[in-house]
């Protein structure tokens, strides 16, 4: 999965947010718990990226870059 694909997926969910620059997505409550579930489901169904329970922490979802770093980590495992 590429960073651009991730951005596109996130934009589909929230077209009003510039995910390339936005920070604190969880801390500022831009993304809800249900968004996190949707993201995890979409990553798994469309890209075969399986997030583990311990990966679901705010730090990994606060920005698109943090999330992409997590995805790269999982893909390289």
């Amino acid at each position: 999965m590429t960073y651009e694909q991730l951005l596109e997926m996130l934009r589909d969910m929230h077209p009003d947010i510039d995910f390339d620059t936005a920070e604190g997505l969880i801390d500022r409550k831009v993304l809800t718990s249900f968004d996190v579930v949707s993201i995890a489901a979409e990553l798994s169904e469309t890209y075969g990226v399986e997030l583990g329970a311990v990966d679901i922490v705010p730090e990994n979802f606060n920005s698109a870059r943090a999330l992409f770093a997590l995805i790269e980590r999982i893909e390289n495992e």
């Binding site: 969910m13 718990s33 996190v36 995890a40 329970a53 311990v54």
Partner: protein, 495 residues
Amino acid sequence: MKSFLSYLNHTADRLPDKLAFSDGETGLTFSELRRAAANVGACLMNSGAKAEPVGVLMERSAYEIAAFLGVLEAGCFYVPLDEQMPRERLDRIVRALNPRFILTDQKNLTAAEGLCPAAEHLIYSRAAAFPGPDRLREESAEDALSYVVFTSGSTGEPKGVSIRESALLDYAATLPDAVGFDESLIFGIQSPLYFDAWLKELLGVMVKGGTAYLLPRELFVNPVSLIEYINERKINALCWVASAFSLVSRLRTFYAVVPEHLKLMCFGSEVFPVKQLTAWQKACPDARIFQLYGATECTGMSFYHPVVGPQAPDRPVPVGKPFPGTKLYLLNDEGRLADEGEIVIGGPSVMAGYYKDPVRTAAALIPDPADPESGQLCYRTGDIGRLDEHGDLIFIGRRDQQIKHMGHRVELGEIEAAALSLKGVHEAVCMYVADRQRIDLFYTGPAQPWDLVVGLKVKLPGYMTPNRTEQRAELPHLPNGKIDRRAIEQKEYGK
């Protein structure tokens, strides 16, 4: 009539120093809760409040619960307002109520004053320090209202469901025994306090002497921490919407941590996918599990069904049998009693009506189908159901465009009405994609999708904003001019 608060008198006499509610930071014991409610009630009465709506705009906290009970002590009815509600919705609610009194806290005072400048604003901390009586009142007026909560309305105007205190008393007499609440239970409250869903935990605490923690919202984006929080506090009873349970199991939380103390799980308001239900059953083999079903218009839940053993994936979990005193009718399209049809609920739990809205009240409440002369009114849920071979009610679907999304009741029409009120939107239609739990909005007009996303955020609660917004050159129509939803379904989803 005995008062709802008499339960708290009784429990506070019995367990004065036991923790009743905690929000993690502040906890109130039963005697402290009674003291706070008595003082808030006395303060309101001293200010001249009498059998009228009192808005409560406070942080979700143990104090907010004491404020609700204080409003009842004053013989008034509470109307929860919430900082998370969008401004336009709050304005509509305040317009419908025109309250003379608002209970608020320091954090929300400015917002409360802006929202309702004409009202008298009472700060909770001061009201709770007002010298009140030692005991709460034991008697209530027969027709007293206890609260008004607002739900989604298809025209865009939210409906104020008005619940009598007698209905709350009926709930207190039925639900706790039906699902086996007792003093040993420690609840974790998932729901916001501005709906009626948390009444289940309120009853577990007030009637049976249990304890309840308000779970911090942010834990739900961190399911491992959520379960750890639950374990640390020995929380053993969860009454959540099915989507909150599903959220935890779908993220494979149980590979890392499982709830260690769980004795009771109640879910309701929506279908619990069998795969996720099974995951919870495996993780918590000692928990008793209940499916509940009901309507805000009937004071929360009215039906219950124990879920025992493996569930067949192709068979819906029944919503079960009514609480004692609750009547169930199934009406066909001609309004006659049938084996399958619209679920109509009767009994003491039925609402007084929609607040100051006789037209929509008359559409929702009908004379008792089995005894039209009795003067008793029953509520048409708009849900379709049938009875199975065991006499258990099975939920089949809706007869209109109302959906359940993330545990919330949503009228797609309200979203459409909000979209149509935006500049540059000519036509709008909302579709619910059930298997992906997604709300899609299709529209015509020059407005850009971004304009709708931003515009709708101001008008609608977060759970009602569409997950996908798509512009179309045109939308298909039926011969009568209405938008053809079936054609959209076929075109957009290939169904």
